[in-house]
């Protein structure tokens, strides 16, 4: 049971988004631009960042929803996504993406954990 009364049978963020469409609009626009808009990072790479942070935050819905999207875009299997969550440093991801995942992990702890070096 959710803490508030949400439309029934909508999983995860879809419940609160249906409950409050005024805030859902900018939230969806932001996700659309960040994850699917034009970028030098692929959609798969960006979904993987979302998946990894959600995993660190222990958010079951977000890590699985975005993990499945990352798996689809990267054309890998779910075992690979699970390996990234466990320890991305031992995966064949590019060095650039590994460095970006390290920044994302710092942001997850707190903005001040992001270091210049």
């Amino acid at each position: 049971m959710a803490h508030i009364t949400l439309p029934e049978n909508l999983p995860g963020i879809r419940g609160p988004m249906a409950f409050r469409p005024e805030t859902a609009a900018p939230l969806n626009q932001l996700a659309e631009i960040l994850l699917r808009g034009e970028s030098t990072l692929t959609r798969g790479e960006r979904e993987l960042i979302g998946t990894y942070v959600s995993s660190l935050n222990d958010c079951f819905f977000c890590q699985n929803a975005h993990g499945c999207l990352a798996q689809h875009y990267l054309q890998c299997d779910m075992a690979f996504i699970d390996q990234v969550k466990r320890d991305y440093t031992v995966t064949p991801l590019s060095d650039k993406l590994k460095a970006l995942l390290a920044i994302a992990a710092s942001v997850q702890r707190g903005g001040k954990f992001v270091t210049a070096a």
Binding site: F19, L30, D58
Partner: protein, 181 residues
């Protein structure tokens, strides 16, 4: 020096908004809806949630700018802002607002740290679903803003007067992305 090449001399999130206007648009729109558009919580009360979370996240830019906005909006009882920053629960705040600040503090730790007991306590003081929803989303949104601003090491002014001016702008104009430095 910020971690990336943002416009020089522009503080905090405004420098990031100029660097990436595409993402600034929904971010500022989200802030405007959450903190200014019609709600049974006053803009002052909603700014106080932002201040509480930003303080706990140690984000000096966000905590100082929203504290300045909250002081403007609270007017004569502006001292409540500094009491909340200091960790107090001022008598001038409604019991409902104090209960909502507890929920916001839990969100700051983690979404999963929000307890049914804290939600029940807010309900017992008269909070409805919409107020609980907005409290959680304001707190979660500021956890994002705080990480965004500090994660890129943006310029954090130290002069209180700079924040007082920001507070006056935020309390009168609200949230609109900057058009130029």
């Amino acid at each position: 020096m910020a971690h990336i090449a943002v416009p020089a001399g522009v503080p905090g999130i405004r420098s990031l908004a100029l660097f990436r206007p595409e993402t600034a648009k929904p971010l500022y729109e989200l802030a405007q809806v959450l903190l200014r558009e019609p709600s049974s919580l006053s803009p002052a009360e909603r700014e106080l949630i932002a201040v509480h979370v930003s303080t706990r996240n140690g984000c000096v830019f966000c905590a100082s700018s929203h504290a300045a906005a909250a002081r403007e909006l609270f007017g004569e009882v502006r001292a409540v802002v500094d009491e909340v920053i200091a960790g107090g629960a001022p008598a001038e705040l409604s019991p409902k607002m104090k209960a909502l600040l507890v929920i916001a503090g839990q969100v700051q730790q983690s979404g999963r740290a929000v307890t049914p007991e804290a939600v029940a306590a807010a309900r017992a003081e008269g909070a409805d679903d919409r107020e609980i929803h907005d409290t959680v989303l304001i707190a979660a949104t500021f956890c994002m803003f705080n990480r965004y601003v500090d994660g890129l090491d943006t310029l954090t002014p130290t002069d209180p007067q700079t924040y007082a001016e920001m507070g006056r702008r935020l309390s009168t104009v609200g949230y609109a992305p900057p058009k130029s430095a």
